[in-house]
Symmetry: C2
Subunit: 446 residues, 2 copies
């Protein structure tokens, strides 16, 4: 076994799968510890997911929110990166199998984050657009613009309206922020580009199963966010769940059907799991069940941190929310425990320090809850949201580029990155639709 060409040393090897917030903060904090650290990720960059929606809506380029992993760790000795996808783990022989070969470990940390969950609705999975990665966000950017190019071409008013309609499923931070950003495109940007189209016919729908937007946040935040969304013209459907989609019509559990060529899925997430663990004992609702030390089940040297881990407690009977803060803190805690291990000290259980949460809907329109005490909205919330996101970005350059773009976007009321670099192939979507044609009639006749 050539171990992906990584040299053997006499120090234990920690393999970290995934360079999201959890993996990144774990690896950084292992800098001076007596371990060889091997990071694998399918991308060669860390993605700052909270701003993905701005890539999808032509406000930022990928380089603003993505940072090369090798650059982050270039001064860290004993650190190795391999761009690879992990397929399975053999916890007996302590080997993970990747698309570029097997790799042995002494400690394994799974920090693969979350995957989109369509709750078993296959037709929705085939036709809905996810937004969990930079390529997916770029696909969405292309598709939004391609829709309007296509709407300019058709004389069929129903088809034109479908092309101009967007249905977003899930009113968590991602769905809410995306709906707001689309509404601003509708108000300030797209009518200049497509003067022939009647933008009163463009609708943005936000569908949420719960009885409020931003379900994990306080009623204060939810109420204000809903007001902001409605003031921007977003149609919010609470207590509503998607049941089916045929590429043209979104069917919900309410009477309402929404015609739309584009269904954006920002709803369910589950852990991005890797094969090799026992069903049952190692899992809780699609995530790895971990103890307070982030160990998976009975494995002493296999950990899960961040979105992919579910640590049950009295405060969080369903596990912690899938938030960057949890991931960062679990990464830091595990790094501290591995440092303690090297000194034969006792490990410390993870405790979550909830610093609050926030979401922005539009310019000067945001809600922020700091330490669950200070409730901000409007310009104050928006300003705090911006500062916190700017500071959290990796690298001085990215902060500068994001700040410059925000500055230009704010004062110009424009989004200049309306580029269709890689058009999304409508034919491949259409082919899927064709295969589903037989189901379609039944759906429309309900």
């Amino acid at each position: 076994m050539n171990n992906l060409n990584i040299p053997e040393t006499n120090q234990p090897r920690i393999v970290i799968i995934g360079c999201g917030f959890a993996g990144l903060n774990l690896a950084k904090n292992l800098k001076k510890q007596p371990y060889q650290v091997v990071m694998i990720d399918k991308h060669n960059y860390h993605t700052f997911q909270p701003l993905l929606y701005q890539v999808a809506t032509a406000g930022l380029e990928p380089d603003s929110i993505a940072y090369p992993i090798r650059n982050i760790f270039k001064k860290q000795k004993k650190f190795f990166f391999r761009m690879a996808e992990a397929h399975s783990v053999d916890t007996e022989s302590q080997i993970i199998n990747t698309n570029i070969g097997p790799l042995s470990y002494d400690y394994l940390v799974i920090a693969t984050g979350s995957a989109t969950n369509y709750f078993g609705m296959e037709r929705v999975e085939k036709l809905a657009i996810p937004m969990k990665s930079v390529p997916e966000a770029l696909n969405l950017r292309s598709l939004i613009l391609q829709n309007f190019e296509a709407a300019s071409l058709t004389e069929n008013l129903k088809e034109r309206e479908r092309l101009m309609n967007f249905v977003i499923v899930g009113a968590g931070p991602t769905g809410t922020e995306l709906a707001g950003a689309l509404a601003e495109l509708k108000t300030h940007v797209l009518p200049n580009d497509y003067p022939d189209l009647d933008f009163r016919r463009m609708s943005i729908h936000l569908i949420e199963m719960a009885d409020k937007v931003l379900p994990p946040m306080s009623d204060f935040s939810s109420k204000n966010a809903l007001e902001y969304l409605e003031s921007l013209g977003v149609q919010v459907w609470l207590n509503t769940a998607v049941q089916d989609y045929d590429g043209e019509m979104v069917k919900t559990n309410q009477k309402k059907k929404l015609p739309a060529s584009t269904l954006i899925w920002a709803a369910g997430v589950s852990g991005a799991l890797i094969d090799g663990f026992a069903q049952g004992e190692d899992f809780a609702k699609g995530r790895y069940l971990v103890n307070k030390l982030n160990q998976i089940g009975q494995h002493k040297n296999v950990f899960a941190i961040g979105d992919v881990a579910s640590m049950l407690s009295d405060e969080n009977p369903k596990g912690h929310p899938m938030l960057a803060q949890v991931a960062i803190q679990q990464g830091e805690n595990l790094a501290a425990n591995l440092a303690r291990e090297a000194k034969k000290k006792e490990w410390k259980a993870f405790t979550y320090n909830d610093m609050g949460s926030m979401a922005t809907v539009g310019r000067n329109k945001a809600v922020a809850e700091l330490y669950n005490k200070f409730m901000l909205k409007g310009f104050a919330g928006w300003y705090v949201w911006m500062m916190v996101h700017l500071i959290s970005l990796v690298g001085f350059r990215n902060r500068l580029v994001v700040l410059l773009n925000w500055f230009i976007n704010y004062f110009s009321y424009d989004r200049k990155i309306r580029l269709i670099i890689r058009p999304v192939n409508r034919h491949s979507l259409a082919e899927k639709e064709l295969a589903l044609e037989s189901h379609k009639e039944a759906l429309n006749q309900d």
Copy 2:
């Protein structure tokens, strides 16, 4: 015929194919003229081609050098844009056929620019990497980085060396600038990312058929550019032509064979032609043969401008060089002539005002010839090169973003956009190689 859903007016319709420098400047200058202007382009953005090589070498993101076409013309009434690819022209019935349908015209202007020309070498065409568009530049960026990821994995030293070698064909401005940028990546950036690799084994070869680099420029510029290239470690092969490539070994008309996984084609260009013209009379060396009014052959209302046009004269017996300046001036001249036409005035012949040319090799290393009188090199040439390119960019935002990135790149000696967003599929290249396997042995036995 629905004419791509463009309304009929009582003003003559000018259809412009391509929004490069020529088409862009033609359309802008028709703003106040009594014509309906329809622009079609396969991209929804104008590409500032002179800086493509910086996208390919992780110095700039696409949004720095691409600008949405609809935004350029948003204040121009009677202007219509359609994202489409033109397939053929029927000059009898005055219709062009596109991938989204037919479109009638009163005046047709072909401004499609140039296409990569492999001089009939099919194997080279299949395996070489072109760099004429933003997606191609992004492919090259991915491929450069993927090569080093792969080089880290292999224990085969020959394979590793091939992956670390780059052969660039053509020492015009594009090839020269790309070679210099790659050399700077080698010196300042990549060794930090890949500490396990021995960068003395990385070679950058620049192959040129002529007896000097930057063949259209003065001997002063060629000599200095060659010195800069060699000081950066680029190996320049003059009087050399590529004859074959099997994906591993570049064969030239000299004894020398160069092992390299990556062959970048910046050599031949010919016009990007559209079907529908008579062979012979309408063509000159892969470009449309035009008169001094840019009319193609005998057609009074069909024009070619920019790279795709060949206007023969005593000064330029092979047609003008394929330069942005020629394209811009031909676009402006044709706009002025069409304005004269509306007033029934006489048309004026095109004359080229050569303002000079320039090329940059690296930081503080450039050559510039202004009006063929002032010869600059070193820091002065580099400064002028930067200023001219900054001013020439479309849009205030793009200038600001480019300036910011240049500033950061210059002072950090870094290129932070080392992102593999859409990996280039090596398998599809490999399959091609497989099909060519039988030829390979013969080549190596020569």
